[in-house]
Amino acid sequence: MVQFLVKRLIGLVFVLICVTFITFIMGYFAPGDPIHTLLGQHFTTRTYLALKHAYGLDLPWYQQYFNFITRLLRGDFGLSIIQQNRSVWDILATGVPVSTELAFWALTLNIVIGIPLGIISALKANTWIDTLTMGVMLFLYAAPAFVLAVLFQVAIVWLDQNTGLGWPVANWGNPWQYTWSDLQFKIGPILVYAALGMAYMARLARTTMLEVLRQDYVRTARAKGLREHIVIYRHALRNAMIPLVTVLGLSIGLLVTGAFFIEQIFNIPGIALTTLTSITTRDYPVIQATGILLAVAVVVGNLLSDILYTVVDPRIKVQ
């Protein structure tokens, strides 16, 4: 167990080094000279060289990378090029609570709605309930997230115009507050954001549950006359949860890419939207920082699911 974790941690450090290297190299070769942009019309060769030295941009690339890493370890993402007196961290900090709020609710819905739907489908396999649920889930899983967002917006617009519902089509309320007007903003984006992961969980839950229900120990449990709900909850469900736990960590990857579309389409001020605005203003340090931040989220998610896996499935520890 300890050996396994140490191995995973070493792998994690390796992946992080590569991720930071990729983002660093992208910024290094990025077109345009940041110092040039910074100076604007105050450009003289003297100040240019002095500033370049002050930012450490006259060093060879490996030293720049080393400095980049040491600054990162101190939690310092550097200064924004466009908003000159603000640090990158300061710019991202306003978006982080919003994005984590979105992700939190999406993950919760994945678990609270996705898994039960899959389990119910498996228990009622090949009835109309199963066919209907899995049909809807297949659509949610296969259709692109931004198409779902658009369809949702069109539906809201139609309802607003025809029933006087009066719900907002885009924007976000106050982060982590849930008054009725906040909820009107939030329910839609969260549902759409959760849809993909929910469908994925439901499909996986159905498959694993069906698999488990075919096992010999379930037949034994039934044969010795246990009541059906004990067979299902105590014997089948617990074992069906094992693969689902690992997928939870992996679904952070889905959430990270989904955030770009949801935040763009619904105009939600999270870090993905901040990144997209930084892309249009060519604020490379901000783009780099988001890249690293989101990649770290995914990597940590993977590690968490590995750890959870050993907790849920005792057989792993023995190996």
Partner: protein
């Protein structure tokens, strides 16, 4: 003996085809995919020959369908029209023909899908076979590389790459023939990013299959006969990878098309005046309150295409490997 082997192979692929033909969803998917390939290729030239001359109020001259059915042509006094005889699917907010733009967008999706799959299949087979057949350092490098690629979501990589190098691509790559002009310069970058993140998964599948194939008796027999490694790989292993590569790439195309549309929707892919399904969605988002048709059209078409590839991919998987079905 080789004859018999081939015959058996032929038989089993015929069985698979028969199974595929019985799968209604896969057949429907295949039909949509064929339309998706045929329409953008032969649709525009036909469409640009249908329709009478029209007296444009903007330029004051008489123009034919080859002008007003051009995806880049604007008739500023005819914005946001619904379906009509002149504009079969209506017009967008600056009076461009939606059907023409849709077909151009489908052509872009098709181009990106082909570019990405060429790299994906090429790199996937090359690295996967070498890693599976020889093991050793190639295997190690592949394993580490796939680890990183799984940690770094493909779309995030593509967003960062196009975000940082997009403007550079606009100026530098616009001179590339065929895909360069009309705001399509970034497509190379987009395809590169999508392919770069797609091939490790393909390589992993291929590696797994190669590891299994390597243990089969026919490979052992070939080796005993003194066949060279290169010949074993090319004649005995690669042909047997056919089914897994077809399934994996069909499923991957769905992701690729979504990826391109998504990047264009975020204004990182095709630039105006070019057309892409994603860009159409993004363009129409400002008129969602007044003319929802303009945003629904590209969204529905994209969903149909993506669903078609997923259905065909699932169908192919079940047809080639019936045991994988639960």
């Amino acid at each position: 003996m080789e004859m018999k082997d081939q015959k058996q192979e032929f038989d089993s692929s015929q069985h698979s085809l028969r199974r595929l033909r019985r799968d209604k969803r896969a057949v429907a998917g295949l039909t949509v995919i064929l339309l998706f390939i045929v329409i953008p290729l032969i649709g525009p030239p036909i469409y640009q020959h249908i329709g009478g001359p029209y007296r444009s109020n903007i330029s004051g001259t008489i123009i034919g369908p080859e002008v007003y059915h051009n995806p880049f042509h604007q008739e500023l006094d005819r914005p946001d029209e619904f379906i009509s005889g002149q504009y079969w699917l209506g017009t967008d907010a600056i009076g461009r023909d939606l059907l023409a733009r849709l077909m151009q967008g489908m052509l872009i999706s098709l181009t990106v899908a082909i570019l990405v799959e060429v790299v994906d299949i090429g790199m996937g087979i090359l690295v996967g076979v070498l890693a599976g057949y020889y093991g050793g350092w190639i295997n190690q490098v592949l394993a580490r590389f796939t680890d990183i690629m799984f940690a770094f979501p493909g779309l995030l990589f593509a967003i960062l790459l196009t975000g940082i190098f997009g403007t550079w691509a606009d100026t530098t790559l616009s001179s590339v023939p065929v895909i360069g002009p009309n705001g399509n310069a970034r497509l190379l970058l987009v395809s590169l990013a999508l392919a770069f993140t797609a091939w490790p998964l393909m390589a992993r599948y291929v590696r797994g299959q190669t590891l299994q194939l390597k243990e089969h008796q026919f490979v052992e027999a070939a080796r005993t006969c003194g066949t060279s490694d290169a010949r074993i790989i090319l004649r005995h292993i690669v042909p047997n990878l056919f089914s897994i590569v077809v399934v994996a790439s069909t499923l991957n195309i769905a992701g690729t098309i979504t990826g391109e549309a998504g990047l264009s929707l975020l204004n990182l892919g095709v630039q105006p005046p070019g057309s892409s399904i994603g860009l159409m969605i993004s363009d129409a988002s400002s008129s969602i309150q007044t003319h929802p048709w303009e945003i629904l059209l590209p969204s529905i078409v994209l969903t149909l295409i993506v669903l078609a590839f997923s259905f065909l991919g699932d169908g192919l998987r079940d047809a080639f490997d019936p045991h994988s079905k639960d």
